[in-house]
Symmetry: C2
Protein backbone atom coordinates (compact mmCIF):
# COMPACT_ATOMS: atom_id res chain seq x y z
CA UNK A 1 0.00 0.00 0.00
CA UNK A 2 1.38 3.39 -0.92
CA UNK A 3 2.03 5.56 2.11
CA UNK A 4 3.16 9.03 2.93
CA UNK A 5 4.88 10.42 5.98
CA UNK A 6 6.15 13.49 7.82
CA UNK A 7 5.33 17.20 7.56
CA UNK A 8 2.05 18.37 6.00
CA UNK A 9 0.70 21.65 4.70
CA UNK A 10 -2.45 22.32 2.68
CA UNK A 11 -6.09 21.26 2.92
CA UNK A 12 -9.43 21.62 1.16
CA UNK A 13 -12.34 23.38 2.80
CA UNK A 14 -15.73 23.23 0.97
CA UNK A 15 -18.05 20.23 0.73
CA UNK A 16 -16.27 17.03 -0.27
CA UNK A 17 -15.87 16.76 -4.00
CA UNK A 18 -16.56 14.09 -6.49
CA UNK A 19 -13.63 14.57 -8.85
CA UNK A 20 -14.69 16.01 -12.22
CA UNK A 21 -15.96 13.30 -14.54
CA UNK A 22 -13.57 12.53 -17.32
CA UNK A 23 -14.85 12.40 -20.89
CA UNK A 24 -14.36 9.12 -22.76
CA UNK A 25 -11.21 8.85 -24.80
CA UNK A 26 -11.61 9.77 -28.46
CA UNK A 27 -12.23 6.50 -30.33
CA UNK A 28 -13.25 4.79 -27.15
CA UNK A 29 -13.83 1.07 -26.90
CA UNK A 30 -14.43 1.18 -23.20
CA UNK A 31 -17.19 -1.14 -22.08
CA UNK A 32 -18.84 1.41 -19.83
CA UNK A 33 -19.29 4.00 -22.56
CA UNK A 34 -22.06 1.96 -24.14
CA UNK A 35 -23.36 0.19 -21.05
CA UNK A 36 -26.91 1.22 -20.29
CA UNK A 37 -26.68 0.78 -16.54
CA UNK A 38 -23.59 2.94 -16.44
CA UNK A 39 -25.13 5.66 -18.57
CA UNK A 40 -28.20 5.65 -16.36
CA UNK A 41 -26.18 5.77 -13.15
CA UNK A 42 -23.98 8.50 -14.37
CA UNK A 43 -26.71 10.66 -15.86
CA UNK A 44 -28.66 10.25 -12.67
CA UNK A 45 -25.70 10.98 -10.41
CA UNK A 46 -24.75 14.00 -12.43
CA UNK A 47 -28.20 15.57 -12.56
CA UNK A 48 -29.09 14.70 -8.99
CA UNK A 49 -25.68 15.79 -7.77
CA UNK A 50 -26.38 19.29 -8.99
CA UNK A 51 -29.65 19.51 -7.18
CA UNK A 52 -28.19 17.95 -4.06
CA UNK A 53 -25.66 20.75 -4.02
CA UNK A 54 -28.53 23.23 -3.93
CA UNK A 55 -30.04 21.32 -1.04
CA UNK A 56 -26.76 21.26 0.84
CA UNK A 57 -26.49 25.00 0.38
CA UNK A 58 -29.84 25.29 2.14
CA UNK A 59 -28.81 22.75 4.78
CA UNK A 60 -31.49 20.30 3.73
CA UNK A 61 -30.52 16.67 4.23
CA UNK A 62 -31.38 14.36 1.35
CA UNK A 63 -33.90 12.22 3.21
CA UNK A 64 -35.88 15.29 4.23
CA UNK A 65 -36.27 16.25 0.61
CA UNK A 66 -36.94 12.77 -0.67
CA UNK A 67 -39.54 11.87 1.89
CA UNK A 68 -41.42 15.15 1.62
CA UNK A 69 -41.25 15.10 -2.18
CA UNK A 70 -42.65 11.59 -2.27
CA UNK A 71 -45.39 12.42 0.22
CA UNK A 72 -46.46 15.40 -1.86
CA UNK A 73 -49.80 14.81 -3.52
CA UNK A 74 -50.59 11.79 -1.36
CA UNK A 75 -52.75 11.50 1.73
CA UNK A 76 -49.98 9.71 3.58
CA UNK A 77 -47.98 6.56 2.91
CA UNK A 78 -46.85 3.67 5.03
CA UNK A 79 -43.22 3.24 6.03
CA UNK A 80 -42.77 0.46 3.50
CA UNK A 81 -44.36 2.42 0.68
CA UNK A 82 -42.18 5.38 1.48
CA UNK A 83 -39.06 3.27 1.54
CA UNK A 84 -39.90 1.78 -1.84
CA UNK A 85 -40.69 5.14 -3.38
CA UNK A 86 -37.63 6.83 -1.92
CA UNK A 87 -35.36 3.97 -2.97
CA UNK A 88 -34.31 3.36 0.62
CA UNK A 89 -34.23 0.15 2.58
CA UNK A 90 -36.92 -0.07 5.20
CA UNK A 91 -34.62 0.29 8.23
CA UNK A 92 -33.08 3.37 6.66
CA UNK A 93 -36.53 4.85 6.24
CA UNK A 94 -37.52 4.10 9.82
CA UNK A 95 -34.46 5.96 11.04
CA UNK A 96 -35.00 8.87 8.67
CA UNK A 97 -38.58 9.15 9.88
CA UNK A 98 -37.42 9.23 13.49
CA UNK A 99 -35.45 12.37 12.68
CA UNK A 100 -38.14 13.95 10.50
CA UNK A 101 -40.73 13.35 13.17
CA UNK A 102 -38.63 14.95 15.90
CA UNK A 103 -37.95 17.91 13.63
CA UNK A 104 -41.66 18.26 12.99
CA UNK A 105 -41.75 17.65 9.23
CA UNK A 106 -43.86 14.50 9.34
CA UNK A 107 -46.16 12.73 11.75
CA UNK A 108 -46.75 9.02 12.25
CA UNK A 109 -50.36 7.96 12.60
CA UNK A 110 -51.36 4.41 13.31
CA UNK A 111 -53.15 3.29 10.18
CA UNK A 112 -56.74 2.36 10.94
CA UNK A 113 -57.76 -1.19 10.11
CA UNK A 114 -54.23 -2.60 10.42
CA UNK A 115 -52.29 -1.63 13.48
CA UNK A 116 -49.06 -3.04 12.10
CA UNK A 117 -48.89 -0.25 9.58
CA UNK A 118 -47.83 3.26 10.31
CA UNK A 119 -49.21 5.99 8.12
CA UNK A 120 -46.78 8.82 7.60
CA UNK A 121 -48.12 12.24 6.72
CA UNK A 122 -46.42 15.57 6.14
CA UNK A 123 -47.10 18.25 8.70
CA UNK A 124 -47.92 21.84 7.76
CA UNK A 125 -44.27 22.64 8.33
CA UNK A 126 -43.30 19.81 5.99
CA UNK A 127 -45.73 20.88 3.29
CA UNK A 128 -44.58 24.46 3.52
CA UNK A 129 -40.97 23.43 3.08
CA UNK A 130 -41.56 21.06 0.21
CA UNK A 131 -43.62 23.54 -1.78
CA UNK A 132 -40.60 25.78 -2.17
CA UNK A 133 -38.27 22.89 -2.85
CA UNK A 134 -40.49 21.49 -5.56
CA UNK A 135 -40.44 24.86 -7.27
CA UNK A 136 -36.65 24.81 -7.12
CA UNK A 137 -36.58 21.27 -8.44
CA UNK A 138 -38.75 22.17 -11.40
CA UNK A 139 -36.58 25.14 -12.21
CA UNK A 140 -33.52 22.94 -12.03
CA UNK A 141 -35.09 20.33 -14.28
CA UNK A 142 -35.84 23.04 -16.82
CA UNK A 143 -32.16 23.96 -16.86
CA UNK A 144 -31.12 20.33 -17.20
CA UNK A 145 -33.41 19.89 -20.19
CA UNK A 146 -32.83 23.32 -21.65
CA UNK A 147 -31.34 21.97 -24.86
CA UNK A 148 -33.89 19.23 -25.41
CA UNK A 149 -37.01 19.68 -27.50
CA UNK A 150 -40.43 18.97 -26.05
CA UNK A 151 -40.56 15.75 -28.05
CA UNK A 152 -37.18 14.64 -26.84
CA UNK A 153 -38.18 15.28 -23.25
CA UNK A 154 -41.33 13.28 -23.68
CA UNK A 155 -39.51 10.38 -25.32
CA UNK A 156 -36.83 10.32 -22.64
CA UNK A 157 -39.30 10.31 -19.80
CA UNK A 158 -41.41 7.66 -21.48
CA UNK A 159 -38.39 5.47 -22.04
CA UNK A 160 -37.48 5.80 -18.37
CA UNK A 161 -41.05 4.99 -17.35
CA UNK A 162 -40.91 1.87 -19.48
CA UNK A 163 -37.73 0.78 -17.75
CA UNK A 164 -39.33 1.41 -14.37
CA UNK A 165 -42.52 -0.43 -15.22
CA UNK A 166 -40.71 -3.36 -16.78
CA UNK A 167 -41.20 -6.89 -15.55
CA UNK A 168 -38.13 -8.37 -13.95
Amino acid sequence: MASRSTTGKRAHRGAAKRAPLLPPKAGSRRFIDDYLLYLLSRASAMASGEFHAQLRARKIPLPRWRVLAVLDGTDGLTVGELAAACLFKQPTMTKALDRLEVEGYVARESAKGDRRRVRVVATDKGRALVAGLIAEAKAHEARVLKNHSATEKKHLKNALRRLIARET
Copy 2:
Protein backbone atom coordinates in the same frame (compact mmCIF):
# COMPACT_ATOMS: atom_id res chain seq x y z
CA MET B 1 -41.90 7.37 18.33
CA ALA B 2 -43.90 4.20 17.80
CA SER B 3 -42.50 1.25 19.72
CA ARG B 4 -43.18 -2.42 20.19
CA SER B 5 -42.42 -4.78 23.05
CA THR B 6 -42.49 -8.35 24.34
CA THR B 7 -42.51 -11.76 22.63
CA GLY B 8 -41.41 -12.14 18.99
CA LYS B 9 -41.86 -14.80 16.35
CA ARG B 10 -41.10 -14.59 12.64
CA ALA B 11 -38.17 -13.30 10.59
CA HIS B 12 -37.02 -12.88 7.00
CA ARG B 13 -34.07 -14.76 5.64
CA GLY B 14 -32.80 -13.70 2.18
CA ALA B 15 -30.87 -10.55 1.34
CA ALA B 16 -32.48 -7.40 2.72
CA LYS B 17 -35.25 -6.18 0.50
CA ARG B 18 -36.14 -2.91 -1.05
CA ALA B 19 -39.92 -3.09 -0.71
CA PRO B 20 -41.64 -3.56 -4.10
CA LEU B 21 -42.05 -0.28 -5.92
CA LEU B 22 -45.59 0.92 -5.95
CA PRO B 23 -47.12 2.03 -9.24
CA PRO B 24 -48.40 5.60 -9.39
CA LYS B 25 -52.04 6.06 -8.51
CA ALA B 26 -54.39 6.09 -11.49
CA GLY B 27 -54.86 9.76 -12.42
CA SER B 28 -51.74 10.73 -10.59
CA ARG B 29 -50.81 14.30 -9.90
CA ARG B 30 -47.84 13.35 -7.82
CA PHE B 31 -44.84 15.57 -8.40
CA ILE B 32 -42.36 12.72 -8.63
CA ASP B 33 -44.17 10.93 -11.42
CA ASP B 34 -43.07 13.52 -13.93
CA TYR B 35 -39.83 14.63 -12.28
CA LEU B 36 -36.85 13.78 -14.47
CA LEU B 37 -34.40 13.29 -11.62
CA TYR B 38 -36.76 10.89 -9.95
CA LEU B 39 -37.40 8.90 -13.11
CA LEU B 40 -33.66 8.69 -13.70
CA SER B 41 -32.91 7.59 -10.15
CA ARG B 42 -35.62 5.04 -10.12
CA ALA B 43 -34.88 3.58 -13.54
CA SER B 44 -31.23 3.40 -12.59
CA ALA B 45 -31.89 1.88 -9.18
CA MET B 46 -34.24 -0.65 -10.65
CA ALA B 47 -32.00 -1.81 -13.47
CA SER B 48 -28.83 -1.72 -11.42
CA GLY B 49 -30.54 -3.38 -8.50
CA GLU B 50 -31.20 -6.42 -10.64
CA PHE B 51 -27.62 -6.74 -11.71
CA HIS B 52 -26.37 -6.11 -8.20
CA ALA B 53 -28.45 -9.07 -7.10
CA GLN B 54 -26.55 -11.21 -9.60
CA LEU B 55 -23.30 -9.90 -8.20
CA ARG B 56 -24.36 -10.60 -4.64
CA ALA B 57 -25.24 -14.13 -5.65
CA ARG B 58 -21.64 -14.50 -6.84
CA LYS B 59 -20.33 -12.79 -3.71
CA ILE B 60 -18.86 -9.90 -5.70
CA PRO B 61 -18.87 -6.61 -3.81
CA LEU B 62 -20.00 -3.62 -5.83
CA PRO B 63 -16.70 -1.76 -5.80
CA ARG B 64 -14.87 -4.77 -7.18
CA TRP B 65 -17.19 -4.81 -10.18
CA ARG B 66 -17.25 -1.07 -10.67
CA VAL B 67 -13.51 -0.55 -10.51
CA LEU B 68 -12.68 -3.45 -12.77
CA ALA B 69 -15.40 -2.51 -15.24
CA VAL B 70 -14.13 1.04 -15.40
CA LEU B 71 -10.52 -0.07 -15.80
CA ASP B 72 -11.49 -2.34 -18.68
CA GLY B 73 -10.18 -1.03 -21.97
CA THR B 74 -7.82 1.46 -20.31
CA ASP B 75 -4.13 1.25 -19.61
CA GLY B 76 -4.66 2.24 -16.01
CA LEU B 77 -6.26 5.21 -14.31
CA THR B 78 -5.31 7.36 -11.36
CA VAL B 79 -7.19 7.15 -8.08
CA GLY B 80 -9.01 10.39 -8.79
CA GLU B 81 -10.01 9.36 -12.30
CA LEU B 82 -11.28 6.07 -10.99
CA ALA B 83 -13.29 7.76 -8.26
CA ALA B 84 -14.88 10.10 -10.78
CA ALA B 85 -15.68 7.33 -13.22
CA CYS B 86 -17.04 5.02 -10.53
CA LEU B 87 -19.12 7.79 -8.98
CA PHE B 88 -17.34 7.37 -5.66
CA LYS B 89 -15.75 9.93 -3.43
CA GLN B 90 -11.98 9.86 -3.45
CA PRO B 91 -11.49 8.49 0.07
CA THR B 92 -13.99 5.75 -0.70
CA MET B 93 -11.97 4.83 -3.73
CA THR B 94 -8.70 4.79 -1.82
CA LYS B 95 -10.18 2.36 0.67
CA ALA B 96 -11.79 0.22 -2.00
CA LEU B 97 -8.42 0.00 -3.73
CA ASP B 98 -6.77 -1.05 -0.48
CA ARG B 99 -9.08 -4.04 -0.42
CA LEU B 100 -8.79 -4.79 -4.14
CA GLU B 101 -5.03 -4.61 -3.97
CA VAL B 102 -4.82 -7.02 -1.05
CA GLU B 103 -7.16 -9.39 -2.86
CA GLY B 104 -4.99 -9.18 -5.94
CA TYR B 105 -7.43 -7.67 -8.43
CA VAL B 106 -5.54 -4.44 -9.02
CA ALA B 107 -2.04 -3.06 -8.53
CA ARG B 108 -0.90 0.44 -7.71
CA GLU B 109 2.01 1.81 -9.71
CA SER B 110 3.55 5.16 -9.01
CA ALA B 111 2.77 7.22 -12.08
CA LYS B 112 5.92 8.37 -13.81
CA GLY B 113 6.38 12.11 -14.18
CA ASP B 114 4.21 13.01 -11.19
CA ARG B 115 4.89 11.14 -8.01
CA ARG B 116 1.74 12.40 -6.35
CA ARG B 117 -0.37 10.32 -8.68
CA VAL B 118 -0.94 6.62 -8.34
CA ARG B 119 -1.73 4.66 -11.46
CA VAL B 120 -4.08 1.78 -10.84
CA VAL B 121 -4.07 -1.17 -13.20
CA ALA B 122 -6.02 -4.41 -13.24
CA THR B 123 -4.01 -7.56 -12.62
CA ASP B 124 -4.42 -10.71 -14.69
CA LYS B 125 -6.73 -11.98 -11.99
CA GLY B 126 -8.76 -8.80 -12.21
CA ARG B 127 -8.99 -8.92 -15.99
CA ALA B 128 -9.99 -12.58 -15.91
CA LEU B 129 -12.79 -11.83 -13.46
CA VAL B 130 -14.11 -8.80 -15.26
CA ALA B 131 -14.26 -10.51 -18.62
CA GLY B 132 -16.91 -12.89 -17.36
CA LEU B 133 -18.78 -10.17 -15.51
CA ILE B 134 -18.92 -7.96 -18.57
CA ALA B 135 -20.45 -10.82 -20.50
CA GLU B 136 -23.06 -11.17 -17.77
CA ALA B 137 -23.68 -7.45 -17.78
CA LYS B 138 -24.26 -7.42 -21.52
CA ALA B 139 -26.66 -10.32 -21.27
CA HIS B 140 -28.52 -8.53 -18.51
CA GLU B 141 -28.70 -5.32 -20.51
CA ALA B 142 -30.17 -7.27 -23.40
CA ARG B 143 -32.93 -8.51 -21.11
CA VAL B 144 -33.56 -5.02 -19.77
CA LEU B 145 -33.94 -3.67 -23.29
CA LYS B 146 -35.69 -6.70 -24.71
CA ASN B 147 -38.84 -4.77 -25.57
CA HIS B 148 -37.13 -1.75 -27.04
CA SER B 149 -36.37 -1.39 -30.74
CA ALA B 150 -32.84 -0.72 -31.92
CA THR B 151 -33.83 2.87 -32.63
CA GLU B 152 -35.31 3.32 -29.19
CA LYS B 153 -32.17 1.96 -27.58
CA LYS B 154 -30.01 4.32 -29.57
CA HIS B 155 -32.18 7.32 -28.75
CA LEU B 156 -32.25 6.49 -25.06
CA LYS B 157 -28.50 6.07 -24.81
CA ASN B 158 -27.89 9.22 -26.78
CA ALA B 159 -30.24 11.18 -24.56
CA LEU B 160 -28.39 9.91 -21.50
CA ARG B 161 -25.05 10.80 -23.06
CA ARG B 162 -26.33 14.31 -23.70
CA LEU B 163 -27.30 14.64 -20.06
CA ILE B 164 -23.88 13.39 -19.00
CA ALA B 165 -22.00 15.67 -21.35
CA ARG B 166 -24.10 18.69 -20.46
CA GLU B 167 -22.54 21.86 -19.15
CA THR B 168 -23.45 22.59 -15.56
